[in-house]
């Protein structure tokens, strides 16, 4: 799980082009949206595409995103349970 979280942080930094942010700056339980990393709705779309492309997870219900994208912790848990790509 720790390796997955690190990989996820690296991918998010890369995909969202988070300038001046390193893996160490993102805590596992930090909020991704709002006061935490400050991501927005366009980033949410990028994360949905990332889940599909890298882990083979299609989010059928966008409302699910609210819970899944709370933090790195929640994302990693969801990916571990639902991934179809290794």
């Amino acid at each position: 799980m720790e390796a997955l979280k690190k990989e996820l942080k690296e991918r998010i930094i890369n995909v969202l082009n988070l300038e001046d942010i390193t893996v160490d700056d993102i805590q596992d339980t930090d909020a991704l949206f709002g006061d935490g990393l400050g991501l927005d709705s366009i980033d949410a779309l990028e994360l949905i595409v990332l889940l599909d492309k890298e882990y083979g997870i299609k989010l059928a219900d966008p409302k699910q995103g609210k819970e899944i994208f709370q933090s790195i912790e929640t994302m990693a848990q969801y990916i571990a349970q639902n991934r179809t790509k290794l």
Binding site: N17, E19, I42, L45, E46, V49, K53
Partner: protein, 349 residues
Amino acid sequence: MKNCYINGIGSVSIQATGFSIFDAEITTVQNVNKAQQPSYKELIAPAMSRRMAKGVKMSIYAANKALFEAKMVDPQAIIVGTGLGCIEDSEKFLDAIIENEEQFLTPTAFIQSTHNTVAAQIALLLQCKAYNFTYVNGANSFENALFDAFMQLKHLDKENILIGGVDEIAPYTFSMFEMVGKVKRVGDNINFKKPETNGIPLAEGANFFALSVKKTANTYAEVVDLLVFNDFKDDETSTIKAFLEKNNLSVNTIDVIVLGVNADAVQQPFYHKIQVLFTETPQAYYQHISGSYDTASAFGLKVAAEIIRSQSYPEKLKYNEAQPEKIENILLVNQNNLTDFSFVLLSKC
């Protein structure tokens, strides 16, 4: 009729940030020339900057400089000219379509790939809801933006307008240009005065201007007239003479002519004809400083405006040996690939 004054200029070019044509040193043009990127942190929040294409960032920086210099806070129009827009992100988006087999397409590169994103993002930052327009007309893109602003200032109820020209270099587009011989290749001789090789030394940059009907202490010059066209209906000499006569000028009353020579042996004969017509006139050039790209002529306008305001004629701009006795009227002549011709006439204020 109202006048059109250049009151502020901002630029990002292949030269160092803050470069002036009066500086001693210039970075020599190579076969490919990337713009020197200034620090954007003071101007653009990191959360916004991370999604912006290079062309957008360069333009926001240059636009901000122009507005600040002119003390203009409320442009009543934002008009941008660009040959290829933010081509780097266009390439990213198209690459993603191919690599991902038309799936997993994300919005960021698509948003940046539209040509009008530059003018739109400047407007967003300024919270400017006024006229917002983008011209994509090859090497006349900037001149069309200038012409639009010129007409609106002269004939409509507009006082302040921000205009600019921007273009980027992107790897795949560059390789295509190389393939068709449009650009210089590594090792090609680059000679602006006696070009021996074909192709242009490709570059990138953003040049913005705050235009106003009001003259200020900072005014560079007045844009007196301009002519934008794709082909000569008459010969070059008659066309230029008619343009000058329309403005009560003649070949002899032009104090400096600024030529958009671009080191391309194929395009040089056009400029040679203009040189012959203006044999006695001081001839200046600028693309050995800016490099060549669709909207490099905006850098040419910057150079001409700086000459006229400073009333000095730097050695490094001289294309011939003639020295101006006075600097009151400057004519810019540009073209690309023997089309997209333009004349821009500036006068001292």
